[in-house]
């Protein structure tokens, strides 16, 4: 499980955003069982702050937040229904950001609302998980993480991908992407 990742580079880092303390604990545990490093925050505002995106300021334009370098995040998983900034708002802000627009974003929601799911996917979310989130959902994150790493590390051996050019949520067998 993820043998190809651990050797050359450090662990994948996932930013988890959820205002529910229970769901935060749950998602953190689920992510850690997949050996991901996790930062869990309780609001969209804290997530933006962590990314250095508060006040629509990208870190490479100014260091008003004392961020001298971009924080390394490989995937963001966020709850949809949150006070102040919703998961959808957060998704949009990330996609509008020069630095983070290519980071995969996954939305979680306790409500199965097709229009909600559609608008999130249209806005660029990679996956939409219905709560309570299961291990099988978290297993779907790996291809998105691997894809991100592949585009970062051009010197790595080519990884066989089954990626379709459009944004359909193709099901991957994790093992297909391992050498």
């Amino acid at each position: 499980m993820g043998g190809g990742v651990a050797t050359e580079t450090h662990q994948f880092h996932v930013l988890a955003v959820d205002d529910s303390i229970i769901d935060r604990k749950l998602i953190e545990r689920l992510l850690k069982t997949s050996s991901y490093q996790v930062t869990a925050v309780d609001s969209g505002v804290k997530a933006l702050e962590f990314l250095g995106l508060l006040d629509d300021v990208d870190v490479d334009n100014t260091d008003s937040n004392s961020h001298h370098h971009k924080v390394e995040v490989n995937l963001i998983i966020t709850d949809y229904c949150m006070p102040a900034i919703t998961g959808y708002d957060l998704l949009r802000k990330i996609k509008e950001s020069k630095l983070f627009k290519d980071i995969p974003v996954v939305i979680m929601s306790s409500e199965n609302v097709p229009s909600r799911i559609n608008s999130c996917m249209e806005q660029g979310a990679e996956e939409f998980f219905l709560k309570p989130v299961q291990q099988s959902d978290v297993n779907k994150l790996r291809p998105h993480l691997m894809r991100g790493r592949k585009s970062q590390n051009h010197k790595r051996k080519p990884v066989e991908e089954c990626l379709s050019p459009d944004r359909t949520r193709t099901r991957y067998n994790n093992h297909d992407l391992e050498l």
Binding site: I22, K25, L26, R29, C81, Q134, Q135
Partner: protein, 160 residues
């Protein structure tokens, strides 16, 4: 009826934690609770205890807020709905299905701005919460007993 007790060997605690014992205690807890148990292991031996403790704290806070909100002269249904939504979410995440189901009904009553209905629902959700709390506390005690006994089968009189 604790059917797992018959299959419990010396690996008692492992069975409980790693085998994903289906804990359907008279329908109070659904499959989601088993998922939580599966996430507990040697490196996270207190996971279930931690999540359950958070659930108790969170729920009691929300039930308190709901009581206060429904006691107001002008009932703010949006605020109440927000609290119930949270309670629905956390009860769903822990597998407390009866609490979750009452929350669903509760939200409908909020939509209808039915104050009396909401009050009745609040009583019902409090009752369901107390019932599942009792079950969860018993489960945790059982786990502790198994660990303390070094994996031997505990006395199960209280569950029959």
């Amino acid at each position: 009826m604790w059917r797992f007790a018959k299959r419990l060997k010396n690996d008692g605690i492992e069975f409980l934690s790693n085998q994903g014992m289906a804990v359907v205690v008279d329908g109070f807890l659904d499959g989601q609770f088993s998922q939580l148990q599966l996430l507990q292991d040697e490196s996270n031996p207190d996971f279930v205890l931690e999540v359950v403790s958070l659930f108790f704290e969170d729920s009691e806070r929300l039930l308190n807020d709901l009581t206060i909100a429904l006691d107001q002269q002008n009932v703010e249904f949006k605020k109440i709905d927000a609290h119930v939504h949270q309670l629905k979410g956390s009860s769903s995440s822990i597998g407390a299905q009866r609490v979750k189901n009452v929350c669903i009904a509760f939200r409908n009553l909020c939509d209808e701005q039915n104050a009396e209905g909401c009050l009745r629902c609040l009583q019902q959700v409090k009752q369901e919460y107390l019932l599942v709390k009792t079950k969860l506390e018993a489960l945790l005690r059982l786990e502790q007993q198994i660990v303390a006994a070094g994996g031997a089968i505990p006395m199960l009189n209280e569950f029959c």
